[in-house]
Symmetry: D2
């Protein structure tokens, strides 16, 4: 078997995770890595892993005809041009979420990949999680009947650094985008309308950048179901990742993962350890699986499990939520782009 040769663009935390997961796959060879801040440290890291080429220039990496597929893990503003270039070079593309902050650009990038005929998979890793897959499967096979209500809770253990808040794109595009995708994934339907409530209850820094740190967003789905997502930037007990789908024949709900099942009963209380702390622990297996699936789709020429349209749809819902918060009214996803032009001012 000929190995799939992969290049990594952007060697931050997530780029390194994907690299290590790729290296576990016998049918993959990671041949190059590019990063704007490449230096001695990255070179050592690459050498340990037998990755020959390290460069600051993503263009050079993309120009390498040997490379079959790229992982785009650089900053969000670079995603669209990199997708365009990678597609032009005929390389399959795994791109981190969100594709961009500008839905029109996301649409174009998606279209390009489709026209050229390269695979484009978006990094919604949670779809590969054991818990959420179980929900999706049971909704799809009809165990709980027709979905009526979808509920998603997603809370981070700690707020990000102030510098990150500024460039994050806001809670809806940065954090809740995962949940919009999850809502589509587990309901098997598109989001048609959202109503967003937001508040700054954790750190005034969020307000400085026009952002919120706490949100509850109501959802309407194309299939008639309704739902709600709640987010917080700071759950002191750790990463809170729960989903439930209620339907005509029952309810399926998943709760958090824990580091162990130990329960301790003392004179004070019955207690257990907190949930797995954050996404690196919680979604380690899901990251492995999304990488494995992407490579598998290339090897066997199958459609990717998370398409550009999926990326686009989640972005559109995030944009609608942002608009809903600003306009204080429900916003349809199909009016979001036009409304954004009227009401939001992107630099």
């Amino acid at each position: 078997m000929q190995k799939v040769k992969v290049g990594i663009i952007g060697a931050g935390r997530i780029g390194k995770i994907h690299t290590d997961n790729l290296l576990r796959l016998p049918q993959v060879e990671v041949v190059a890595v590019s990063d704007l801040f490449a230096g001695a440290e990255l070179e050592a890291w690459a050498a340990e892993r037998g990755i020959a080429a390290v460069t600051k220039d993503s263009g050079a990496l993309l120009a390498n005809p040997e490379i079959d597929a790229v992982f785009i893990c650089s900053s969000t503003d670079t995603h669209v041009p990199l997708i365009q270039q990678a597609a032009a070079s005929g390389k399959h593309i795994f791109c981190e979420k969100p594709v961009s902050m500008d839905i029109k650009q996301t649409m174009e990038a998606t279209r390009t990949a489709e026209e050229v005929g390269v695979k484009l998979q978006i990094g919604f890793n949670r779809r590969f999680d054991h818990n959420f897959k179980r929900i999706e499967g049971h909704v799809r096979d009809g165990t709980i009947g027709t979905p009526h209500i979808v509920k998603i809770t997603s809370r981070d253990p700690n707020p990000p650094h102030k510098d990150y808040i500024r460039v994050s794109g806001g809670m809806f595009m940065d954090m809740m985008i995962h949940d919009f995708d999850m809502a589509r994934f587990v309901s098997g339907s598109d989001i048609v309308e959202v109503y967003a409530q937001g508040a700054v209850l954790i750190d005034p820094a969020f307000a400085e950048y026009g952002d919120v740190d706490t949100a509850v967003v109501s959802l309407k789905f194309a299939n008639g179901a309704i739902g709600v997502i709640d987010n917080s930037r700071q759950a002191v007990y750790g990463y809170d990742q729960r989903v439930e789908v209620f339907g005509s024949k029952g309810l399926i709900a998943v709760t958090n993962d824990y580091p162990n099942t130990a329960e301790i009963s003392t004179a004070e209380a019955v207690y257990r350890d907190k949930p797995l702390h954050f996404f690196l622990e919680r979604y380690q297996a899901a990251y492995e699986e999304e990488t494995r699936m992407f490579i598998d789709c290339i090897v066997h020429d199958k459609p990717v499990p998370v398409s550009g349209i999926d990326g686009l749809s989640a972005e559109r819902a995030a944009l609608a939520a942002k608009l809903s918060l600003v306009l204080q009214r429900p916003v349809r996803t199909d009016e979001a782009v036009q409304l954004a032009e009227q009401h939001l001012h992107f630099a």
Copy 2:
């Protein structure tokens, strides 16, 4: 000790429950019961319990100077006049929820009771439940810090009969009113705005009467917290009654009560019995407790735990939700009465 002498107005299911709970209290004597449909059956029922007087005429009961307190368990449209008459007779009043479908009338009835100086307790029985009391206590004592997000799930096992749907006042006033009160109870704050999504997913009969059978309502609280309530008229697995409050120092969540703790592991799955089926089983102890507390407040002349203002506030939130559904926009509770005059047409 002199016994508190009680009269029961309306001897349907809930009137009978209160009666039996009252009979367990050594400091109470139930001396009379009135019901529009009083007959041989009710007389037998009363005789078994040593209740001497049975009448069709609530007026006769209210005219009995011996009676210290009445339980108003008749149909909703009779509540306000009965409160007025009972107050005029100087009797303490326990009134089932909602006080009325017309907030102005509820206000007046509440004011009358206050002016006359009789106690008026509203039948929000869930406040006396072991689970929800535990939440309220831990929110109040600061265990979870400042509340940020309140989530309430409340689903009935079966939809009511079509005849009931017609006169129920709609899902928000009939069913979710309990949850609006719960939201106020566990958050320690008033609801200032709601946004309602509703759908008819269970039975088209609901649509016939302009009602919904599935709803998700977003909430804003005076203390800055946000939240969500979801309701369904039919959870096939039984009565689903869960609440959680997320705050700056943690999360407190309660799940359902079960008939036993048995867990069965077979070659197919690990399973347990469904939750307690419906409100009679689920809230039996809470009904006992609310009755005990009401009598206790009379005996020791203390303020009642659920006041007319509490009844009023929940009704206002229910009305705002109904308006939000009609107007498809968020509605403030302080604009609900005025908006209702413009947009809703009560017979």
Copy 3:
């Protein structure tokens, strides 16, 4: 319907519990109570409940021809003579456990009741508990197949007072006797052999009286199953009452009851309240049910759910366990009486 007239012999804690439960049954009248220490306090207690006759003399109570049934709640050494007298007077008998410390006497008392034709129910209240009934039902209906392994955990929150330890009859006869009955109840089979390990780990006072405070007892059943009971006199986290039966088609297990379902997640841990504290809270409903069933058996002339043979069998297993601890070898229940004569010295 003519009411069943009941007399209570022994008005300690358990006698009072049974009285209050009986008073809730419409078909029962409690007409008399006897207690060695009857005085003003007991008379006031009885008066509040409308019980006319209070006496120090159980003989006088038993001589009352009006009384249909007695509850024997006095000290263990009085049980057998009282059963004999009650049977001679043709009264149905509810007797607290154990019937006696001397199996031969228990046999005789059981035989007398049978010959005379009065009902004799033994106070193994746990058989009426929601959890253990669920196990027994699922074992009986074959859900878990043929029982292979029975496991029972039973731990008290606090050791009894030193004065009580002295007269308790020892851990096996006083405490584990409930578990021997439970083992028979859930397995549907007799105990044929036991091996007892015991230790004094909580309070040296137990050693002073030749008793233990911690024990693990292996069991063999007539149907081929094997099992184990563990007891402790002090579980600091509260009353620990768990049972599981493992069989050819699966496992059924029950865990403790809790005062609520609240789960609190903080920066330190995820915790909940301790289990219900002790038997009064834990088995309140079971006490009500055993009383109701006893009366029901009298009214409808049905066999009692817990017979004298059941009392006898549990005592025999307890005796065998005591002997096993002394002899440091497994002891068959059918050799226990004879071995006891050789090795144990009862006053």
Copy 4:
């Protein structure tokens, strides 16, 4: 850093698991594998992993001076001679459990490794499991006070093949040996006496070989605690691996691991998936960890976490259990070897 060069002796299922886990460690090189049945298949397997040398001759592997450490994963009867040879060659040794069926030989092998100064780690993988480590840690740090009662449940999903039963060494030496080690691990104390009950309830084949398929074994520990282990060869619901330690300050208990946290509520029941099926799924991470620790102990010259004495102690308890079953009496671990000579006949 110079890599630790490892040879694998015995390339059955467990040998292959260790190999793959070793290959994930950057500081390890697997240089050779020996197996009595080595052939084209094993060579292909080795080639895929870059393992150069494949041989049928463990002697050749042990003669390779380049090899620093060996993993002995061949059949139990070969363990002792291989340990002797490996020690003579100065190689560190990881040996699967049990070291042998003959405690005297285990003692000698352990002594040899100690005298020569090579590391000898025994494959009690469960010590490295997240759940059991948590128990051990909390017992050690005093969270639950002094241990009083230790309870271990260990049940396999399916009985082994008849051919395996014949050579397995019996349930105590083959299966419960893990639990004897666990009992020592979590209690922090030695087992001084056992009493074994056994039954053949699953497959008569066990009886043919003088073995049992169901067992309950009582334990006494040197520190005064008592306990019990139960085993079954067939739990239809999957691998059942639970442990609890009850002590003067509380209880710590772990239950099974599940493939996900999904809970499904339907009109029939509330259910979830069965526990992880068997040891390969359940202890995957523990196998990785024991391998990592062994290599770490070599690299940093630290004492191994599971010593030859640990292997020996578990074997001694297993032998005592076997004798207890035969003799139908409790057996002290310090009399097991002598009793075995009188009562057991090993070929």
